[in-house]
């Protein structure tokens, strides 16, 4: 444990678990619905802002649900723009993301950050359940693992229901969905509401975790979530749903660990966005690089093999 201390790993896992919720959100919109929802950055900040304000008012648990509701509303607007008004999905996300900046400022009372130091958070409330030493150390991790685990199980169960199957079919074959009496506008709207509710949840949790909300908190979140999603996909493949959901979590935690490693290697914090961009690029190109390597190995062995055979014939 020379390189990593327990504390660094613990923080990476905890933040990774929160990020996993954003990755899960992208998993629904990007992988399942096949829609690029770029409102994630703003929606994440929205969840954090709403969560912080409600926590300030002394309702940390209610904050979680209201942040999810706020995320859902944002998803509803994004979905309505593309399903009813024919705005391209990428544009719809960008438009909502831009608008959300002002909304987020307004939620925070037109200040660029809100501090909730000294307020009760869900983490503090959970820690108070026991006074054992290990509990004080790990209650946060346990709570986050519990929340993320619950979300995973619910999502997995949901995707097996009729509505869940319809949402999956919408991203897989639009023609088939229309032929099955399903309104794609409805499934896209439901899917984006669900996905953005998870982003809002993640925003609220990170706000209570850091005890602060900042207007620029969400910048680059899409890239981070995409990186985590791709890392998970590269490691776990595109097989069964259980594996894919597991990949989302492992990918997110792994991403945070890579970032923690970068921090330990004294990469300056200003360079973090570059490092995340690099991770995304590497994770996305990894399968292709693997294919290229396999191809050239096969080619060289085949060429070598045939020349040997030719030699035999001549002999």
């Amino acid at each position: 444990m020379g390189f990593f201390t327990i504390g660094i790993i613990q923080t990476a896992v905890e933040v990774g678990l929160i990020y996993a919720l954003v990755t899960m959100s992208l998993f629904i919109s990007f992988s399942i619905l096949d829609i690029c929802d770029l409102s994630t950055d703003g929606c994440y900040t929205l969840g954090c802002a709403v969560g912080a304000v409600v926590t300030m008012a002394g309702h940390p648990v209610l904050a979680i649900f209201l942040a999810m509701l706020a995320g859902m509303c944002s998803g509803f607007v994004t979905a309505t723009l593309q399903t009813r008004f024919g705005v391209q999905s990428i544009l719809a996300g960008i438009i909502v993301n831009t608008g959300l900046y002002t909304v987020n400022l307004a939620v925070m009372g037109f200040s660029s950050n809100v501090s909730i130091f000294g307020q009760d958070t869900v983490f503090a409330a959970f820690r108070k359940l026991s006074s054992a030493g290990w509990w004080t150390d790990y209650s946060r991790t346990i709570l986050l693992a519990g929340i993320v685990g619950l979300v995973c199980v619910l999502l997995y169960r949901f995707l097996g229901t009729r509505l869940g199957l319809s949402i999956r079919a919408t991203g897989d074959s639009m023609a088939m969905v229309k032929a099955s009496s399903i309104d794609p506008a409805f499934t896209i709207t439901t899917g984006l509401c669900l996905s953005n509710a998870l982003t809002g949840l993640a925003g609220c949790l990170i706000g209570q975790y850091n005890k602060t909300s900042d207007i620029n908190l969400g910048t680059g979140m899409v890239t981070i979530a995409l990186a985590s999603l791709i890392i998970g996909q590269t490691l776990f493949g595109r097989g069964g749903m259980k594996l894919r959901i597991l990949g989302v979590i492992v990918g997110s935690v792994l991403y945070r660990l890579i970032m923690a490693a970068a921090l330990r290697l004294n990469v300056p914090t200003e360079a973090f966005k570059l490092v995340s961009a690099l991770i995304v690029a590497i994770a996305i190109s990894a399968p292709q690089v693997k294919n290229m390597a396999l191809f050239s190995m096969k080619k060289s062995s085949a060429l070598h093999g045939s020349s040997v055979r030719k030699g035999d014939k001549n002999a």
């Binding site: 199957l165 319809s166 023609a175 088939m176 099955s180």
Partner: protein, 278 residues
């Protein structure tokens, strides 16, 4: 009963690319009618299907199904009672979902639209039941392709013929009021095409489904079903059934077409395929 009265559709009106795809099409299909449709490229066969299925709303005219006016009904609403197959076997199924999941999505058409809000929510959150699974299995076994033992496999792993057979099963898992087949065997290899055609015949006959089938095979056009329609320039120029059709040969049909359309059929694919014997 399906009744189209005076359906017209013009694409890109008022531009240099203006195309009158359908001009005043009248068509009446009695219950249990099985009509084949032939016509050259651009005759309006697929446009006619799109109009019936609701892919677009016709510029003019009226569509009635079993006495109900469906002219302005949306595509996904119509699909509750209109089944459709395309030429491309990849279109009708979701490749990353299992056979069972695909069938389950298709089976949503069985849902009662008149249910209360809460009953619908309960239904949305219900899962595939053992009873449905047994039904899917039984239906799949009728295809005789061994798919009933691969219910958990993703559809993307199936061959084109298997996928088209599955699409047919999905389109008819809830008996549609009308089935639209748009050259659904044309992209398959001959043996798969024959097999899918046989399954089509069996299902349509067994449940006496009203059916429209576009084909480019003239023998098929005369042998299958009880009516043959020929289209040209956005019109139905020939509609033969009953006694008259029974004694007809392919060359009779072609000369009747030339007479009615004022020109001979100019589709190479059709002329070449008249020699085939399916």
């Amino acid at each position: 009963m399906l009744e189209l009265s005076h359906i017209s559709k013009t694409f890109n009106p008022g531009t240099i690319n203006e195309k009158k795809a359908l001009t005043g099409v009248d068509l009446k299909m009695e219950d249990g009618d099985f009509a084949t449709i032939v016509g050259s490229n651009g005759a309006g066969k697929s446009t006619l299907f799109n109009a019936i299925a609701g892919t677009f709303i016709a510029d003019e005219g009226r569509i009635e199904l079993d006495g109900e006016d469906i002219t302005f009904e949306k595509e996904h609403v119509r699909s509750r009672y209109i089944g459709r197959l395309f030429q491309d076997p990849l279109m009708g199924t979701a490749p990353h979902m299992t056979i069972e999941e695909n069938l389950s999505v298709a089976y949503l058409r069985a849902a009662d639209p008149g249910k209360s809000f809460f009953a619908r929510i309960a239904q949305d959150f219900s899962r595939i039941s053992a009873k449905e699974r047994a039904k899917f299995r039984e239906r799949l076994s009728l295809l005789d392709m061994g798919l009933e033992d691969r219910m958990e496999s993703p559809v993307g792993l199936l061959s084109g013929g298997q996928r088209q057979a599955l699409t047919l099963l999905m389109a008819t898992i809830v008996t549609p009021k009308i089935l639209l087949l748009d050259e659904h065997t044309a992209a398959l290899d001959p043996s798969a095409a024959a097999k899918v055609l046989k399954i089509t015949r069996d299902i349509v006959k067994e449940r006496s489904i009203t059916c429209l089938m576009v084909t480019h095979n003239m023998n098929q056009a005369l042998e299958l079903g009880n009516r043959t329609l020929m289209m040209d320039g956005g019109r139905i120029v020939l509609d033969i059934g009953g006694e008259e059709r029974r004694g007809m040969s392919v060359s009779d049909l072609l000369s009747r077409f030339a007479q009615n359309a004022g020109q001979s059929l100019d589709n190479d694919r059709i002329l070449l395929s008249t020699e085939e014997n399916v």
